[in-house]
């Protein structure tokens, strides 16, 4: 029986810590000439808490998103479509769910129908994976490079983002452009949700609000992006020659201050929007109409 008590986990951590210290004895804070201190960190606060929370939330999201992407069902309940499946571009899409038509035929992998979500999720996934905020989050919490400030990392070598595959982080701007297209499509989905299940306009339901909130969060996340800030004006040397771009840069800079918050809110928003649509599609709940 595995022992998961606090003393047992502490013992395991100390053993690992000692092992990696031996491994790293010749470099980093243990390098020759630096102050001879045997601890990897002398921090007394709960420095491990933030990376642990980040790790847990991201793992939970990845687990849920993977299940939903492969489920290939319960993503459409007129007029609502899950953000994981929009735009639905495959012949495998359920009738009425395709906003842009069917670009891909049905095909099977290992006897399973290839889920329409798998054609499109690479774009939002790539946008978040290369996002400057998420890079900080997962470098710290998954790769422990470093796990927290002034806490020695457990790697003997480090080359940063200078080599493959991490040099691909420089493609962030292309994912940003793709993300804008997705935002337009998801906003369209939210507008189309001002219809009822018979496709008649002039109605509004809880689902409408859910999709509107999701699209809004995603716009804030995209517009507060560092690449957006650079594109609208950050690359300029002389703001005085470009007053409109300077104003745009100033506005995006204000949003950029909260980019981390928008990153989390929009991530959770996408998951909750999907949960809502799934619950409606499986008839677990009824999409309540205000009018």
């Amino acid at each position: 029986m595995a022992d998961f008590t606090v003393p047992a986990l502490t013992r395991i951590w100390r053993t690992l810590d000692k092992g990696s210290r031996l491994l790293l004895m010749a470099t980093g804070v243990f390098s020759q000439g630096r102050a001879k201190i045997t601890e990897r960190t002398l921090r007394t606060d709960k420095w491990w808490l933030q990376p642990l929370i980040t790790f847990s939330v991201l793992i939970a999201f990845i687990f849920y998103a993977t299940l939903r992407a492969f489920e290939n069902a319960n993503y459409f309940a007129e007029p609502l479509i899950s953000p994981f499946y929009s735009p639905c571009l495959s012949d495998a899409c359920v009738p009425g769910s395709s906003l842009l038509g069917h670009l891909f035929p049905i095909f099977h992998v290992w006897g399973m129908t290839f889920s329409p979500a798998l054609f499109i999720l690479i774009f939002p996934l790539g946008f978040r994976m290369t996002c400057y905020y998420y890079r900080k989050a997962y470098y710290r919490s998954f790769w422990m490079s470093p796990p927290a400030c002034a806490v020695a990392e457990p790697h003997a070598k480090y080359t940063g983002e200078t080599r493959a595959p991490l040099i691909m982080q420089n493609m962030h701007r292309y994912f940003f452009y793709a993300g804008l297209v997705f935002n337009v499509l998801l906003t369209t989905d939210a507008i189309l949700a001002f219809r009822n299940s018979e496709k008649q306009w002039g109605h509004m339901s809880v689902g409408t609000l859910v999709l509107l909130a999701n699209a809004t969060f995603l716009w804030f996340y995209s517009l507060s992006c560092h690449t957006c800030r650079h594109t609208v004006g950050g690359r300029l040397r002389n703001f005085s020659k470009h007053p409109i771009r300077y104003k745009a840069w100033t506005l995006v800079s204000k949003l950029n201050h909260y980019h981390q918050n928008f990153a989390w809110v929009s991530l959770i928003g996408v998951a909750l929007a999907d949960v809502y649509v799934r619950e409606v599609a499986t008839h677990a709940i009824t999409n309540w109409y205000f009018f």
């Binding site: 790293l24 470099t27 980093g28 804070v29 390098s31 020759q32 000439g33 630096r34 102050a35 001879k36 201190i37 960190t41 002398l42 921090r43 007394t44 606060d45 400057y132 890079r135 900080k136 470098y139 710290r140 490079s145 470093p146 400030c149 002034a150 806490v151 020695a152 990392e153 790697h155 070598k157 480090y158 080359t159 940063g160 983002e161 200078t162 991490l166 040099i167 420089n170 493609m171 962030h172 701007r173 560092h226 690449t227 800030r229 650079h230 950050g234 690359r235 300029l236 040397r237 002389n238 703001f239 005085s240 020659k241 300077y246 950029n256 201050h257």
Partner: protein, 253 residues
């Protein structure tokens, strides 16, 4: 009002050393540097510590307090619980000279590798006129007091001594950003050298530099990431590269 403070102070040199326990009285409103001075005056007459202004503006008293890079003159004793033992060590990214004093000459060598502003030909001192909105970004970076806490906490060199030869560090990325954003600077290869000679690509933007900056300079958001984006413009974005060849944009920016 006084309190009795338990300290562990690292003492030694580049060969040997260790943490020594000290108990000392602390008065209300005192900072860690005051306490170190009291220890120096009463118990450890040969304790080495670098300090100067006691106002958070000279950047001399950088050290690590309970494992965090901080200025001793800006760290209130009252910010620690009564029963907490405060551990004080030298900066752990640089070679130690004695006790709390480290050799930070690495930073001065890196500073010399960055060419200063290059004004247009024929412009004499005192002649340039620039609008405030063109220089305000750079002014944030001029607040730097060169305490080198950002350099100390940056894991690229803190955890990898071998990277010191190829990585300038966050303090010098804000210097490069300041010059690259300068409206009159004529040196056009700053982005390229930032990436290829000063190791900008090694930064993985974990923002520790920003967290420890006593001047609250948003090093990562306002200097490093903008520089990374400028490097992408030049090196990794084929569309931008093509556009620059067709329109010669550099001149109008």
């Amino acid at each position: 009002m006084t309190r009795t403070l338990k300290l562990r102070i690292w003492r030694g040199d580049d060969k040997t050393g260790g943490l020594q326990d000290v108990t000392v009285e602390a008065n209300h409103g005192e900072v860690v540097l005051d306490i170190i001075h009291r220890v120096q005056a009463t118990q450890m007459g040969d304790l080495a510590v670098r300090w100067n202004c006691k106002a958070g503006k000279c950047g001399s008293c950088s050290m690590e307090i309970n494992g965090k890079p901080r200025l001793a003159c800006m760290t209130q004793v009252a910010s620690y619980p009564e029963d907490e033992v405060i551990t004080i060590t030298p900066l752990r990214a640089f070679p130690v000279i004695k006790d709390l004093v480290t050799d930070v000459s690495f930073n001065y060598k890196k500073a010399m590798e960055i060419p200063t502003v290059s004004m247009p030909e024929g412009v004499k001192p005192g002649e340039p006129r620039m609008q405030q909105i063109d220089v305000e970004r750079s002014q944030e970076f001029r607040k730097c007091i060169e305490c080198f806490l950002c350099q100390d906490t940056c894991h690229v060199i803190r955890d990898h001594e071998e990277n010191k030869k190829s990585f300038a560090g966050p303090r010098f990325f804000i210097r490069i950003a300041e010059l690259d954003m300068h409206p009159l600077d004529t040196l056009r290869n700053r982005k390229k050298t930032a990436q290829e000679e000063h190791g900008l690509g090694m930064c993985n933007i974990t923002k520790c530099c920003t967290e420890v900056c006593p001047e609250h300079i948003r090093i990562t958001d306002n200097a490093i990431i903008p520089m990374k984006e400028r490097v992408v413009d030049e090196k990794y974005d084929p569309l931008r590269w093509l556009g620059s060849k067709i329109r010669k944009r550099e001149g109008i920016l």
